[in-house]
Symmetry: C2
DNA sequence: CAGTATCCAATCCGATACTG
DNA sequence: CAGTATCGGATTGGATACTG
Protein backbone atom coordinates (compact mmCIF):
# COMPACT_ATOMS: atom_id res chain seq x y z
CA UNK A 1 0.00 0.00 0.00
CA UNK A 2 1.55 3.17 -1.15
CA UNK A 3 0.91 6.47 0.50
CA UNK A 4 0.23 9.49 -1.63
CA UNK A 5 2.69 12.23 -0.89
CA UNK A 6 0.05 14.91 -1.15
CA UNK A 7 -3.23 14.63 0.76
CA UNK A 8 -4.30 17.92 -0.71
CA UNK A 9 -4.70 16.02 -3.94
CA UNK A 10 -5.38 12.64 -2.37
CA UNK A 11 -8.10 14.04 -0.14
CA UNK A 12 -11.22 13.01 -2.04
CA UNK A 13 -13.14 15.86 -0.53
CA UNK A 14 -10.98 18.69 -1.80
CA UNK A 15 -12.14 18.78 -5.43
CA UNK A 16 -15.78 18.86 -4.39
CA UNK A 17 -15.20 21.74 -2.03
CA UNK A 18 -14.11 24.05 -4.82
CA UNK A 19 -17.24 23.29 -6.78
CA UNK A 20 -19.91 23.14 -4.14
CA UNK A 21 -18.69 25.18 -1.21
CA UNK A 22 -17.19 28.30 -2.68
CA UNK A 23 -18.70 31.54 -1.48
CA UNK A 24 -22.43 32.09 -2.12
CA UNK A 25 -22.95 28.77 -3.86
CA UNK A 26 -24.74 27.01 -1.02
CA UNK A 27 -27.20 29.84 -0.35
CA UNK A 28 -27.98 30.03 -4.06
CA UNK A 29 -28.45 26.29 -4.42
CA UNK A 30 -30.50 26.26 -1.25
CA UNK A 31 -32.75 29.03 -2.49
CA UNK A 32 -33.36 27.30 -5.81
CA UNK A 33 -33.98 24.01 -4.07
CA UNK A 34 -36.36 25.48 -1.50
CA UNK A 35 -38.29 27.96 -3.61
CA UNK A 36 -37.96 26.40 -7.05
CA UNK A 37 -37.20 28.18 -10.29
CA UNK A 38 -36.39 31.83 -9.78
CA UNK A 39 -35.73 34.84 -11.93
CA UNK A 40 -32.58 36.87 -11.55
CA UNK A 41 -34.32 39.66 -9.68
CA UNK A 42 -36.06 37.21 -7.40
CA UNK A 43 -32.74 35.72 -6.42
CA UNK A 44 -31.44 39.19 -5.74
CA UNK A 45 -34.30 39.78 -3.37
CA UNK A 46 -33.84 36.42 -1.69
CA UNK A 47 -30.15 37.17 -1.11
CA UNK A 48 -30.34 40.82 -0.10
CA UNK A 49 -26.65 41.34 0.51
CA UNK A 50 -25.34 39.97 -2.79
CA UNK A 51 -24.56 42.39 -5.61
CA UNK A 52 -25.68 41.72 -9.20
CA UNK A 53 -22.09 41.36 -10.31
CA UNK A 54 -21.30 38.61 -7.83
CA UNK A 55 -24.65 36.92 -8.34
CA UNK A 56 -23.95 36.75 -12.05
CA UNK A 57 -20.47 35.34 -11.44
CA UNK A 58 -21.73 32.60 -9.14
CA UNK A 59 -24.67 31.71 -11.40
CA UNK A 60 -22.35 31.42 -14.41
CA UNK A 61 -20.03 29.15 -12.47
CA UNK A 62 -22.91 26.98 -11.27
CA UNK A 63 -24.27 26.84 -14.79
CA UNK A 64 -20.90 25.84 -16.20
CA UNK A 65 -20.55 23.13 -13.59
CA UNK A 66 -23.97 21.77 -14.49
CA UNK A 67 -25.57 22.40 -11.10
CA UNK A 68 -27.93 25.12 -12.30
CA UNK A 69 -29.75 25.63 -15.60
CA UNK A 70 -30.46 29.02 -17.12
CA UNK A 71 -33.24 29.75 -19.56
CA UNK A 72 -33.35 33.13 -21.21
CA UNK A 73 -36.38 34.69 -22.84
CA UNK A 74 -35.55 37.61 -25.12
CA UNK A 75 -38.78 39.42 -24.51
CA UNK A 76 -39.18 43.03 -23.53
CA UNK A 77 -38.51 43.27 -20.72
CA UNK A 78 -36.21 40.25 -20.82
CA UNK A 79 -36.68 37.32 -18.49
CA UNK A 80 -34.06 34.91 -17.19
CA UNK A 81 -34.93 31.94 -15.08
CA UNK A 82 -32.69 29.71 -13.06
CA UNK A 83 -33.44 26.28 -11.74
CA UNK A 84 -31.52 23.51 -10.11
CA UNK A 85 -30.51 20.60 -12.33
CA UNK A 86 -30.78 16.92 -11.40
CA UNK A 87 -27.05 16.99 -10.71
CA UNK A 88 -27.51 19.95 -8.41
CA UNK A 89 -30.46 18.30 -6.74
CA UNK A 90 -28.35 15.20 -6.13
CA UNK A 91 -26.53 17.25 -3.51
CA UNK A 92 -29.72 17.31 -1.44
CA UNK A 93 -28.93 14.39 0.88
CA UNK A 94 -25.48 15.81 1.41
CA UNK A 95 -26.87 19.16 2.45
CA UNK A 96 -29.35 17.41 4.72
CA UNK A 97 -26.57 15.53 6.48
CA UNK A 98 -24.62 18.76 6.77
CA UNK A 99 -27.62 20.41 8.41
CA UNK A 100 -27.95 17.45 10.76
CA UNK A 101 -24.32 17.76 11.80
CA UNK A 102 -24.85 21.45 12.39
CA UNK A 103 -27.53 20.75 14.99
CA UNK A 104 -25.07 19.30 17.45
CA UNK A 105 -21.78 20.42 15.92
CA UNK A 106 -22.30 24.17 15.82
CA UNK A 107 -23.05 24.51 19.52
CA UNK A 108 -19.97 22.46 20.29
CA UNK A 109 -17.87 24.69 18.08
CA UNK A 110 -19.28 27.70 19.88
CA UNK A 111 -18.36 26.26 23.25
CA UNK A 112 -14.87 25.41 22.03
CA UNK A 113 -14.40 28.98 20.81
CA UNK A 114 -15.44 30.48 24.11
CA UNK A 115 -13.14 28.13 26.00
CA UNK A 116 -10.28 28.99 23.65
CA UNK A 117 -10.87 32.74 23.78
CA UNK A 118 -10.99 32.79 27.56
CA UNK A 119 -7.33 31.74 27.73
CA UNK B 1 -45.37 29.33 7.94
CA UNK B 2 -43.22 32.37 7.51
CA UNK B 3 -40.46 32.54 4.98
CA UNK B 4 -37.16 33.94 6.02
CA UNK B 5 -36.19 36.86 3.82
CA UNK B 6 -32.56 35.82 3.75
CA UNK B 7 -31.59 32.27 2.74
CA UNK B 8 -27.98 33.20 3.26
CA UNK B 9 -28.80 33.13 6.94
CA UNK B 10 -31.63 30.65 6.73
CA UNK B 11 -29.58 28.17 4.73
CA UNK B 12 -28.60 25.71 7.46
CA UNK B 13 -25.52 24.73 5.52
CA UNK B 14 -23.88 28.14 5.36
CA UNK B 15 -22.55 28.35 8.93
CA UNK B 16 -20.94 24.94 8.67
CA UNK B 17 -19.22 25.83 5.44
CA UNK B 18 -17.25 28.63 7.04
CA UNK B 19 -15.97 26.28 9.73
CA UNK B 20 -15.33 23.08 7.85
CA UNK B 21 -14.75 24.03 4.24
CA UNK B 22 -12.54 27.04 4.32
CA UNK B 23 -9.27 26.71 2.44
CA UNK B 24 -6.86 23.95 3.56
CA UNK B 25 -9.11 22.71 6.33
CA UNK B 26 -10.32 19.56 4.64
CA UNK B 27 -6.85 18.38 3.58
CA UNK B 28 -5.57 19.00 7.11
CA UNK B 29 -8.46 17.18 8.74
CA UNK B 30 -8.14 14.41 6.21
CA UNK B 31 -4.43 14.00 6.88
CA UNK B 32 -4.95 13.84 10.63
CA UNK B 33 -7.82 11.42 10.21
CA UNK B 34 -5.92 9.15 7.82
CA UNK B 35 -2.46 9.20 9.34
CA UNK B 36 -3.29 9.95 12.97
CA UNK B 37 -1.46 12.35 15.26
CA UNK B 38 1.14 14.36 13.41
CA UNK B 39 3.84 16.83 14.30
CA UNK B 40 3.98 20.24 12.68
CA UNK B 41 6.82 19.29 10.38
CA UNK B 42 5.11 16.06 9.40
CA UNK B 43 2.04 17.98 8.33
CA UNK B 44 4.25 20.29 6.32
CA UNK B 45 5.64 17.31 4.48
CA UNK B 46 2.21 15.79 3.94
CA UNK B 47 0.98 19.08 2.45
CA UNK B 48 3.97 20.08 0.35
CA UNK B 49 2.52 23.25 -1.08
CA UNK B 50 1.38 24.86 2.17
CA UNK B 51 3.61 27.44 3.82
CA UNK B 52 4.30 27.38 7.58
CA UNK B 53 2.49 30.66 8.05
CA UNK B 54 -0.70 29.40 6.50
CA UNK B 55 -0.43 26.01 8.16
CA UNK B 56 -0.19 27.74 11.53
CA UNK B 57 -3.18 29.94 10.74
CA UNK B 58 -5.37 27.02 9.76
CA UNK B 59 -4.28 24.86 12.69
CA UNK B 60 -5.04 27.68 15.14
CA UNK B 61 -8.46 28.11 13.64
CA UNK B 62 -9.17 24.39 13.78
CA UNK B 63 -7.95 24.28 17.36
CA UNK B 64 -10.13 27.23 18.33
CA UNK B 65 -13.15 25.56 16.72
CA UNK B 66 -12.47 22.37 18.67
CA UNK B 67 -11.84 20.18 15.62
CA UNK B 68 -8.13 19.65 16.29
CA UNK B 69 -6.17 19.35 19.53
CA UNK B 70 -2.63 20.62 19.97
CA UNK B 71 -0.18 19.32 22.53
CA UNK B 72 3.08 21.16 22.96
CA UNK B 73 6.22 19.72 24.55
CA UNK B 74 8.73 22.38 25.54
CA UNK B 75 11.74 20.15 25.00
CA UNK B 76 14.82 20.99 23.01
CA UNK B 77 14.13 20.75 20.19
CA UNK B 78 10.46 21.50 20.83
CA UNK B 79 7.74 19.15 19.75
CA UNK B 80 4.15 19.99 18.82
CA UNK B 81 1.61 17.35 18.00
CA UNK B 82 -1.78 17.71 16.41
CA UNK B 83 -4.61 15.24 16.47
CA UNK B 84 -8.22 15.23 15.49
CA UNK B 85 -10.76 15.63 18.30
CA UNK B 86 -13.95 13.59 18.69
CA UNK B 87 -15.82 16.58 17.31
CA UNK B 88 -13.52 16.67 14.33
CA UNK B 89 -13.84 12.94 13.88
CA UNK B 90 -17.63 13.28 13.90
CA UNK B 91 -17.27 14.82 10.46
CA UNK B 92 -16.09 11.45 9.16
CA UNK B 93 -19.42 10.19 7.79
CA UNK B 94 -19.98 13.56 6.16
CA UNK B 95 -16.65 13.39 4.39
CA UNK B 96 -17.39 9.84 3.34
CA UNK B 97 -20.66 10.87 1.76
CA UNK B 98 -18.91 13.75 0.08
CA UNK B 99 -16.37 11.37 -1.37
CA UNK B 100 -19.19 9.12 -2.56
CA UNK B 101 -20.89 12.00 -4.32
CA UNK B 102 -17.58 12.86 -5.93
CA UNK B 103 -17.39 9.45 -7.59
CA UNK B 104 -20.29 10.16 -9.90
CA UNK B 105 -20.61 13.93 -9.47
CA UNK B 106 -17.15 15.05 -10.49
CA UNK B 107 -17.20 13.34 -13.88
CA UNK B 108 -20.59 14.88 -14.55
CA UNK B 109 -19.27 18.30 -13.62
CA UNK B 110 -16.37 17.76 -15.97
CA UNK B 111 -18.68 16.86 -18.83
CA UNK B 112 -20.86 19.88 -18.10
CA UNK B 113 -17.81 22.14 -18.23
CA UNK B 114 -16.66 20.80 -21.54
CA UNK B 115 -20.13 21.19 -22.99
CA UNK B 116 -20.32 24.74 -21.67
CA UNK B 117 -16.88 25.74 -22.86
CA UNK B 118 -17.49 24.44 -26.35
CA UNK B 119 -20.18 27.10 -26.89
C1' DC C 1 11.77 22.12 15.52
C1' DA C 2 7.99 25.03 15.47
C1' DG C 3 6.77 28.56 14.57
C1' DT C 4 6.83 34.55 13.65
C1' DA C 5 7.55 38.70 11.11
C1' DT C 6 7.44 41.18 7.03
C1' DC C 7 6.58 42.26 2.49
C1' DC C 8 4.22 41.85 -1.68
C1' DA C 9 1.07 39.99 -5.48
C1' DA C 10 -3.24 38.25 -6.60
C1' DT C 11 -7.86 37.81 -5.69
C1' DC C 12 -12.20 38.93 -4.12
C1' DC C 13 -15.84 41.77 -3.26
C1' DG C 14 -18.83 45.69 -2.64
C1' DA C 15 -20.30 50.15 -4.39
C1' DT C 16 -21.61 52.64 -8.15
C1' DA C 17 -22.88 53.70 -12.65
C1' DC C 18 -24.34 52.38 -17.05
C1' DT C 19 -26.76 49.52 -21.20
C1' DG C 20 -29.60 46.48 -24.63
C1' DC D 1 -35.28 43.35 -16.34
C1' DA D 2 -30.96 41.34 -16.50
C1' DG D 3 -27.20 42.08 -16.59
C1' DT D 4 -22.03 44.56 -17.72
C1' DA D 5 -18.13 48.00 -16.81
C1' DT D 6 -15.15 50.12 -13.86
C1' DC D 7 -12.99 51.35 -9.67
C1' DG D 8 -11.14 50.87 -5.16
C1' DG D 9 -10.60 48.67 -0.57
C1' DA D 10 -9.97 44.68 1.94
C1' DT D 11 -8.67 40.11 2.53
C1' DT D 12 -5.91 36.14 1.32
C1' DG D 13 -1.87 33.74 0.28
C1' DG D 14 2.90 32.89 -1.22
C1' DA D 15 7.92 33.93 -0.73
C1' DT D 16 11.41 34.91 2.24
C1' DA D 17 13.90 35.63 6.29
C1' DC D 18 14.34 35.25 11.05
C1' DT D 19 13.94 33.41 16.29
C1' DG D 20 13.39 30.88 21.07
Amino acid sequence: MERSPNPELACPVAPVVDIVFSRWTTPILWALHEYGRQRFGELERLLPTITPKVLTQRLRQLERDGLVARTYHAEMPPRAEYEITPLGASLGPLFAQLATWADTGLPEVERARQAYDSH
